[in-house]
Amino acid sequence: MNQKTQGSRLEIQSVNKFFGDFCALKDINLTIEPGELVCFLGPSGCGKTTLLRIIAGLEHQSGGLLHQGETDISLKPPRERDFGIVFQSYALFPNMTVTDNIAYGLRSIGMPKAQVRNRVDELLALVGLEDQASKYPAQLSGGQQQRVALARALAPSPGLLLLDEPLSALDAKVRQHLRGEIRSLQRQLGVTTVMVTHDQEEALAMADRVVVMNNGVIEQVGTPLDIYQQPASAFVASFIGAMNFIDSAPLNGQRVKVGNHELDLIRPLPTAEGCIQLAIRPEDVHLLPSGDGEWEGEVRALDYLGAFIRTLIRLSDIELDLVVDVDPRSARRLDLRVGSCVCLNLPSDALHCFAA
């Protein structure tokens, strides 16, 4: 049985990064617990890769501190840090066999030959490539190459594993499969892992905690469920899953006014004055037969997306299009067709509100 790696704790304090005048990362604070798998998620260019490279020491922060365990690694070059990394391109050494690739890091720390052999065998077994040991990278499939890259990064038993979009070069089926494999491998070894992705599905499926980034700042850190159910900002709400936004004016207490409707919220308002935005997920809207609900609307479009139907409903009072997901059975019951009239309710426990 392979030894269990003790994952290390990583602490990022007030890290900034400037490229010339451009601010790629702004005041990043984050603590990653031992053994945790954290995903950096965000749109293209938001600074995920930059942050990962700063953790690795491949890029230098313009300001701020990094601690791995008890050690201050802020000033250390990559070689003196304790991490393994897998790049999007894998960067496997094409002139070396799978075995030699995996052994590369072990040989550079001068591990005795016999031990190297054992360790390589152990890792080959771990990633299920025992029968491919003497092949070259070019003779492997994309998924197999990915596993070799992973084994190579894990070989020296690093306390920290860094993955930059490790699955994006693979097709959908393989990706799904490897997702689970990486996750269970990581649990088994207990190595602290940071993974960069712009695929929200991947992040939500794999991560213990998700770090949502945008424009160089962290928008929210939380478990996948938190992020989905309690988005901390309008950006997170719109980036993760689908969300409807409705402009409204605050009244006293926790009441808001939308058109000529008044709504009670169960959450406190973010601001007392000015405009606020209400938000609701398409699956949280209740559709009712015409005349039964608070809001009147007309069906504008229907998209059959397999398990559910995505409808676009025009609210007649406030001239707003709302996206609503309904299951096929309810749709049949309500006899939804383009042009038909429906009623709907916005349950207050499903309403989020953000400062506009």
Partner: protein
């Protein structure tokens, strides 16, 4: 969990990006960190820059300053140029050089384009062999075609009547000789441009019912236009800066290159040599800048992936291709065949018995067999020193952390030799390294300065080859190495060098062959104990020993052919032993 994206319907609002109000200046700690571990590489590349400054920039500077000084070394402004003008040098040599180079360029590029078309757009058999023959002239010194032409069309030439009374000694000879040795350069550029044609363009043309003629003008020619322009500049520069052909067959016809030689060797007027050098430097520099400009455009247009083109079976087109190749092939065979034959003829044209008399170099002036072994040593030295220097510097530039400024300076310095004609480089080496105040003037007249000069002369192309090979490697190799506790040095020796082996072999051969065949840069620099084979050809020809000159030229060519063969075997061996891991990548 919903797997839906932000819907196209929902109104997405992203919070306004808050701009940083203060710009962070790097702190002292950050600067120190940035420099930690990097200064070694920065220092090494700075050393590389220093070496190139010493080998290119400083000599060129001395040459330029020499051109505005009189014999005594006082500053005289443009007086030397005015003097050269008034003696009619501009009218004769400068314009002669321009039109001869221009006409040769047109002929060579046309022939090379026809050959490249035949090789890439038809289905002729044995194209591999044909390519090999067409590239042959690159293994010969430029003096060889000139000597051969003397035998073919000279006063006692076998085909003298074919010229209808015209003289081979003069522009006709220069142009024919230049065409011979510059042809492979043009052909290789055009083959590169035309080999990776996009089959889809041809399919589209067929689908749109374009005639073959129209397809040729609308697809083939536009696809090759950058190659055509580039080949044009290269050939023009090669011809205008070449010295071997006009020296042997130019007769009374003055061109800039021979003029420099006459001013310096004949009349010992070094400052006038410098003036003519500056005049020669101008067109060469212009061609260089123009070519760089075109190449930049080209790299921008070669991004999309394309489907390789496979010519259809078409007998008529194949016949046309054969027709286009024939004159060039015949010409190349005639020139080389004549030189080989002449080198074995006992006493042309009176005793046509074959013998090895002409290969008894010991009996002739010009250095004899010693010159040949010197050349061999010089070429091997150039190959080793050059390959190591070029690759190490290119590696520093491409694969280690460097400031943009330093890499920019280095790139400029490495490409500069491409713009400096060999004669000009050689002359500037006299000024610089033979200067009494130069602490290393002891190397003057030794093999070592010849090696340095030749490495410099052929630095640019080698550098480009090395950089291209290094750029193709995954950008993250060093980062992976660092994460696995391996230094950049270990990655260099275990990954980078093995992967670059084919390119290294190419560069080594390029340097060897050019060092064996070059005349222009070394003709000013050889000393008593460092005579060279290529210069011996020149000197024997000058002394009237044309047959031994032909023999020595053939010997040089044969040596290069052997080198090419060895390199071919090595490449084959490398390809075979690395086939396993290359599988699927190409």
């Amino acid at each position: 969990m919903s797997e839906s994206d932000p819907s196209k319907f929902s109104m997405i609002d992203s919070p306004a990006l808050s701009k940083p109000t203060t710009h962070n200046r790097p702190t002292l700690a950050e600067l120190r960190r940035r420099l930690a571990g990097r200064w070694v590489f920065a220092l090494l590349l700075a050393t590389g820059c220093g070496i190139l400054i010493l080998l290119v920039l400083a000599p060129l500077y001395t040459l330029l300053s020499k051109s505005v000084e009189n014999k005594a070394g006082d500053f005289v402004g443009l007086e030397n140029f005015a003097h050269y003008l008034s003696t009619g040098g501009i009218e004769s040599a400068f314009f002669n050089s321009l039109w001869v180079a221009g006409l040769s360029t047109v002929i060579v590029v046309s022939l090379a384009f026809m050959a490249a078309w035949a090789l890439t757009r038809t289905r002729l058999p044995i194209t591999g062999w044909i390519r090999g023959v067409l590239i042959l002239p690159i293994l010969a010194p430029s003096l060889l075609p000139a000597i051969s032409l003397v035998y073919l069309f000279g006063n006692q030439g076998v085909l003298k009547s074919w010229l209808f009374g015209a003289e081979i000694y003069g522009p006709i000879g220069i142009i024919m000789g230049s065409c011979f040795w510059t042809f492979p350069h043009a052909l290789m550029i055009l083959l590169t441009a035309m080999d990776n044609a996009d089959g889809r363009h041809y399919e589209a043309a067929t689908a749109l019912k374009a005639s073959p003629w129209r397809t040729f003008w609308t697809v083939t020619v536009p696809g090759a236009r950058y190659g055509l322009v580039s080949a044009g500049f290269v050939v023009f520069t090669l011809v205008i800066t070449d010295f071997g052909v006009p020296k042997v067959i130019g007769g009374q016809f003055d061109v800039l290159a021979t003029d420099i030689y006459k001013q310096v060797i004949g009349q010992q007027k070094f400052e006038m040599g410098a003036v003519v050098s500056v005049l020669l430097l101008l067109p060469a520099m212009l061609a260089f800048i123009a070519d760089r400009y075109v190449q930049r455009k080209q790299s921008a247009s070669f991004t999309a992936r394309s489907v390789p083109y496979r010519p259809r079976q078409d007998r008529k087109r194949d016949a046309l291709g054969a027709l286009m190749l024939t004159p060039t092939l015949v010409f190349i065979f005639a020139i080389i065949g004549m030189a080989i034959y002449a080198s074995f003829v006992t006493f042309w044209p009176y005793n046509l018995d074959l013998s090895l008399n002409n290969y008894q170099f010991g009996r002739m002036d010009g250095g004899g067999w010693g010159a040949y072994t010197n050349s061999l040593q010089m070429a091997l030295g150039t190959m080793v020193v050059g390959t190591v220097l070029v690759f190490f510097n290119a590696w520093l530039m491409e694969r280690t952390p460097q400031s943009r400024l330093l890499t920019g300076v280095f790139q400029f310095l490495s490409l500069l030799p491409l713009a400096v004609p060999g004669l000009v480089l050689g002359l500037s080496y006299i000024f610089f390294f033979n200067h009494p105040d130069n602490p290393i003037n002891g190397i003057y007249g030794t093999l070592f300065i010849l090696i340095l000069c030749t490495v410099t002369h052929f630095y640019a192309v080698s550098h480009l080859t090395a950089v291209t090979a290094l750029k193709q490697l995954d950008q993250e190799f060093e980062a992976v190495g660092e994460s696995l506790n391996a230094s950049r040095w270990r990655v260099l020796f275990t990954v980078t060098l093995p992967l670059c082996l084919p390119a290294i072999l190419d560069v080594a051969l390029y340097l060897f062959v050019n060092a064996m065949t070059t005349v222009s840069a070394v003709v000013f620099l050889y000393g008593h104990d460092s005579q060279l084979a290529s210069v011996a050809v020149l000197n024997m020809d000058e002394a009237g020993d044309i047959a031994p000159a032909a023999a020595m030229a053939i010997l040089i060519t044969a040596t290069c052919a052997v080198a090419k063969l060895i390199q071919g075997v090595l490449r084959f061996w490398v390809d075979r032993s690395t086939r396993a891991w290359r599988q699927g990548t190409e």
